[in-house]
């Protein structure tokens, strides 16, 4: 049952990502991104990371994607013109992406015996709570990165204001 769920949503995530690339209308692309995010949330959940799954749904699928769709609608973006793209993207980009994919698969497959296996969905019944462990790490060993992220967000907001504001 769990393995079927994993395969279905894994395929759905890949299909959503491909659809995102091939759609010509921005709104369709944004909605395919929602599909990708939701499928990823299910994958996280089935691997036992229920906190990450919830955050994925609330933050990405909920907040960020709604903002995306709002902006697309506000700009009233129409259908894109289909350009052929740059030739170097086809010559170097596609083989490069394929090479990285092959390299990663090769490494993971060759280290398969040592990486061990996971039982999909098995963690949901385990006694240790995922959330308590995440929050423990977040407020002890990883406290500083967690706090300093606020400067990162501040810089991003400041940048958005600077670049978007009209010159007086």
């Amino acid at each position: 049952m769990e393995i079927a769920l994993f395969i279905i949503f894994g395929l759905l995530a890949v299909a959503g990502a491909l659809n995102l690339l091939f759609q010509r209308h921005p709104i369709n692309s944004a909605l395919s991104l929602v599909v990708v995010m939701m499928s990823l949330a299910v994958l996280y959940w089935s691997l036992g990371a229920e906190f990450l799954a919830a955050a994925q749904v609330i933050v990405y699928a909920g907040a960020i994607m709604v903002l995306f769709v709002f902006v697309v609608m506000l700009l009233n973006a129409g259908e894109e013109d289909r350009t052929h793209g740059s030739r170097i993207a086809y010559i170097a980009g596609i083989p490069g992406a394929a090479a990285i994919f092959c390299l990663l698969s090769f490494v993971f497959l060759s280290e398969r015996s040592h990486l061990g296996s996971t039982q999909i969905g098995g963690y949901l019944t385990s006694a240790v709570s995922n959330i308590s462990e995440v929050s423990h790490a977040l407020f002890t060993s990883l406290l500083l990165p967690f706090e300093v992220t606020s400067i990162l967000i501040l810089v991003a907001i400041l940048g958005a204001v600077v670049l978007a504001r009209k010159e007086l």
Binding site: E111, L115, L142, L144, T149, I151, L168
Partner: protein, 502 residues
């Protein structure tokens, strides 16, 4: 004072000043000059520099300070880079005070962004936890993306910011994936724990892939050769003082991370990564110098020259740890002095609108602006590596480090490249001192006022370049002190994150 607060004092002061500037900015009426905010930023940077010196005093007295569950480690190594970053930022701020002639409304944010970026770079150099390094890297990158596009309304500025942002995010993804694979292979993202974990890991291939990914991410940040394509376009469109900043300070921080990561976290793979580094170094030196030969635009020329200099610095990674660290510390300082200096002169010559672009535009400039031309000539001579300048001893130490470790061929490639580099620097230099004046120069007002802060900044960079060239030994001794303590990271037992280790 608690060690946690003490270890973060320079970063805290910078971030606080940045926030203060943001709060004070709306109080100044639109249309008024934003110079007071610039002075506030300068004060904040000075305070942060003094805090770094205080830390140095403490470290000398009682050894390295660790804080926040061993995410931060203040030792001679991080203090050196803190000081370097603070000085670069200080000089850049001094030069930018009068950069925005017309009261442009977003000049206040400029100063805040420079300070926040410096905070991120300082975090990168002092942290021994890769997640913290990543956050610092992102803070410094995002603020430089925005600073690159600061001349709003110009096509090249938008191109510069957007290109830098897209390619930079791509490279950051590689860096982040490398951290994730490190965690997969060792169960930790702390540098000390990675070193311990890689020694006993059962998945060496995964660890090796992680090193390669991190190398790609940082290679982009230092603009090493296969990952250099963004450099000329970004430097061309960005404001000249910002280019001076972003071609030196973030690169110094990225080199500091690279030194810590390669020598302290992955010494086991040394024989492997040394090969990758050698490839990157040869490619950067060759592509940088050959590319610069073809350029007409001065900023693009200096961009290619910065790629070549990144290549020279990578050569030093072939040496043993203590020699590599001291050599790279020296080279980053020398390169910062001469490159920031060169861009300061460009800022003064061409101004906000950048009327002087190509080498031909600079023809005969010495007749009109003899002082600035002489300074630019001096910085160019240092970039070539003429004796009695910082650039000469930088190259000298790098190539002798390569020879000491048996990589003579790499030193020979580097020397050949330095020969090629003479051509394009000298072409600009001869253009400065030849007749006749071009129309562009003849049109510009000859009495371009050099204000006191700019004069101070120019003197500081020229003096630093000269000092590094005349008294290299004293500075080299200082940088050599940076090495031994940076290995302490291995003995500190870092807590390992235990998620997913069930």
């Amino acid at each position: 004072m608690s060690p946690n607060l003490l270890a973060l004092l320079p970063e805290l002061l910078l971030a606080l000043t940045g926030v203060l500037i943001m709060l004070a900015e709306p109080l100044i009426a639109p249309g008024r000059t934003r110079k007071p905010l610039g002075w506030l930023a300068i004060l904040g940077t000075l305070a942060s520099g003094i805090a770094v010196l205080y830390q140095l005093h403490l470290v000398n007295a009682s050894g390295p300070i660790t804080a926040f569950y061993s995410t931060i480690q203040i030792d001679a190594f991080s203090i050196f880079f803190h000081l370097l970053i603070a000085s670069i930022v200080l000089v850049t701020l001094l030069a930018s005070l009068d950069y925005f002639q017309n009261p442009i409304t977003h000049a206040g944010e400029y100063f805040a962004l420079v300070l926040f970026g410096a905070t991120g770079m300082m975090f990168m150099t002092s942290s021994v936890e890769l997640l913290m390094v990543f956050i610092g890297l992102e803070i410094s990158s995002i603020s430089t993306y925005i600073l690159a596009g600061f001349r709003k309304g110009r096509a090249t500025a938008s191109e510069s910011a957007l290109k830098y942002f897209l390619l930079g995010s791509f490279a950051t993804a590689f860096f982040l994936y490398g951290i994730a694979l490190c965690f997969g292979a060792t169960g930790s993202t702390s540098i000390a724990a990675i070193a311990a974990g890689l020694a006993i890991t059962k998945t060496p291939l995964l660890g090796w892939l992680a090193v390669a990914m991190v190398l790609i991410g940082l290679g982009f940040k230092v603009s090493a050769a296969p990952f250099h394509v963004w450099t000329p376009d970004v430097y061309q469109g960005a404001p000249a003082p910002v280019v001076g900043l972003m071609s030196t300070a973030p690169k110094a921080a990225a080199f500091a991370v690279l030194l810590r990561f390669l020598f302290n976290a992955t010494p086991i793979y040394r024989s492997h990564w040394i090969l990758l580094i050698a490839i990157l170094a040869v490619a950067s030196m060759t592509i940088g110098n050959l590319g610069a030969l073809l350029q007409r635009d001065v900023k693009r020329l200096l961009a290619y020259s910065s790629i070549a200099h990144a290549g020279y610095m990578l050569v030093a990674f072939t040496a043993a740890q203590h020699e590599a660290v001291s050599t790279i510390c020296f080279y980053t300082a020398a390169y910062a002095a001469m490159n920031v200096g060169a861009f300061l002169v460009l800022t003064q010559l061409s101004g906000f609108d950048e009327k002087l672009r190509t080498i031909d535009d600079f023809t005969g400039l010495a007749l009109k602006r003899p002082g600035l031309s002489a300074l630019l000539g001096f910085f160019l001579l240092s970039l070539i590596g003429i004796p009695f300048t910082g650039g000469f001893f930088g190259k000298f130490y790098v190539f002798s480090a390569a020879v000491h470790s048996g990589y003579t061929w790499l030193a020979i490639v580097g020397l050949a490249n330095s020969g090629i580099a003479c051509f394009y620097y000298l072409r600009l230099l001869t253009a400065l001192y030849s007749r006749p004046l071009t129309d562009t120069i003849a049109d510009t007002p000859s009495t371009g006022r050099i204000t006191f802060p700019v004069a101070l900044a120019l003197t500081a960079t020229a003096a630093a370049t000269l000092c590094l060239g005349i008294l290299p030994n004293r500075i080299l001794h200082l940088t050599q002190r940076a090495t031994p303590t940076s290995t302490i990271a291995q003995s500190v037992s870092a807590p390992t994150a235990t998620i997913a280790q069930r």
